[in-house]
């Protein structure tokens, strides 16, 4: 099913924001978001409860952050671990539900994408504009080691970022399930689109809230141009 421009823009911008948050604050490229998105879609089909999707996404994020904190010392190691984590979820979905595609026909929660997207934008804006939290986040973005030396609890920030971004993406998978053909690989296209948008935004070398605003703007532009292909 082809999505309208707006629906594409919402999901790609949120995915790009989550990728950016993970990269700038948790210091790795979170490739498991595709698997989380797919899991959210499957929950929508088999157990349509948004709270369940939120909790499951949070648990995924917690599991992933434990692995990354315990075993991974570099960006590449954490990225590869996250890829494995996402693939594991995708494989489990294949095992549990072997069929090719699922379609949700009896309800449509896609309207939730509007308030959900605006909520994500607002939360990020609020966090970065709040004096205390915003300062800590910018500190971690620019130099995580120095931030740690100066007393910022970087471990807590990393955990929170991974958990919240995972929960957010899982919820978006839930919301978008009624618009898409549900398969375990449903999230990959959006993940790649999100990475491309984030990568372009990173070239602008903006900091703090300006970076995230540029991510949203670039999502709009690139979805307009490439939306159909992505």
């Amino acid at each position: 099913m082809a999505l309208s421009f707006l629906y594409n823009f919402f999901v790609i911008s949120v995915m790009a924001l989550m990728i950016s948050l993970n990269f700038r604050l948790s210091k790795f490229l979170n490739l498991s978001l595709a698997g989380f998105f797919a899991a959210g879609s499957y929950i929508a089909y088999f157990y349509p409860n948004l709270i369940a999707a939120l909790i499951l996404g949070g648990l995924f994020g917690f599991g992933l952050s434990l692995i990354i904190m315990k075993y991974c010392e570099s960006v590449i190691e954490a990225t590869i671990s996250s890829l494995g984590f996402g693939l594991l979820i995708e494989r489990i979905l294949y095992f549990i539900h072997e069929s090719s595609y699922y379609y949700i026909l009896n309800y449509d929660l896609s309207w939730l994408s509007i308030p959900a997207t605006l909520t994500v934008f607002a939360v990020i804006l609020f966090l970065y504009l709040t004096k205390n939290i915003g300062l800590k986040l910018k500190f971690v973005e620019s130099d995580i080691e120095l931030a740690e030396i100066y007393g910022v609890d970087t471990t807590k920030i990393k955990y929170m970022v991974i958990i919240l971004t995972s929960a957010t993406v899982t919820c978006f998978g839930f919301i978008y399930a009624s618009l898409l053909a549900i398969t375990p690989t449903i999230g990959f296209g959006y993940l790649i689109s999100g990475i491309i948008v984030s990568a372009f935004a990173a070239q602008l070398k903006l900091n703090g809230i300006y970076h995230y605003v540029s991510v949203i703007a670039l999502s709009f532009v690139l979805t307009r141009i490439f939306g159909v292909i992505l």
């Binding site: 490229l29 490739l31 692995i67 075993y71 991974c72 010392e73 960006v75 590449i76 190691e77 990225t79 590869i80 671990s81 890829l83 494995g84 984590f85 693939l87 594991l88 494989r91 489990i92 294949y94 095992f95 990959f188 296209g189 790649i192 990475i195 491309i196 990568a199 292909i229």
Partner: protein
Amino acid sequence: MKRIAEISVILLVALTSYFAGSFYRWLFGIMAIYAIITISWNLMKTIGRLSMGHALLFGLPAYISAMGYQYSVEASIYLFPITIILSGILFFVFSKITGKTAFVFLTFIASIMLWILTPKIVIEKDGILVGGEVGFNFFNVHFHGIFILSVISLIVIYLFTAEITSSRFGYFMKAVGDDETASKAVGINVDRVKLITIMYSSVLAGFAGLLYALDFGHISYEVFSVETSIFPFVASLLSGGNLFLSVLSSFFLVLLKRSLNSVYPGLMDVFYALVLVFSPKIGGFVYVKGKKFIKKL
């Protein structure tokens, strides 16, 4: 002496497969193909570039060649080397415009994009649409022919690569892999080392892709799957980066895939996923334990 022993082990595995029956003869062909991909991947890792998109180098030349095959045999033959060269140049450009970390991401994205986009490629042949998710037919070589071709190719490629990596060029490769800036500062032409290594890696991976397509007589978008990109990483991880052990671990992984997938289809992907998740721990573990084991021997 060491090389003779290593080739003997490879030949032993090949001969065992030969006498074990047709199925194992065919299976050795697959093992050899994946071993060549791993050798190709290891070369790029030596210059410090971890590719998570090797499926592109593996699958694209054969895929484009198969598309050409729908029109004429000549088109198929010409397109193959051209695509190998272009793929290699693409990876070289990636290595020039990115650091080591971003190279991982960029190659992964490139490979996944091919996996997403190639099912949409459809061409018209004699009024019929071919391609898409089904893929394209290609030349088919009997698996006996693939067996012979793969044994000879693997041995030649292994010997040649082992010689290169232990030669002075191999030192330049390792130096570039350790520190590009320091390599430039002591007079190593880093661009030339990277270009030669990446092009050679591209040729090997493309050749492996060709063998794969010839074996099945068919190629589809699945050749660009994440599994193909992950395979050489996992094989190298289990072998601690040693070239000969990478070949053996490739053999092992292909056999393991047959075993696990016969228990339950897709079970091997779970194994891959778990290896990736715990890769920082596994890599160190295998290397340290492996070295201790070899020292004891």
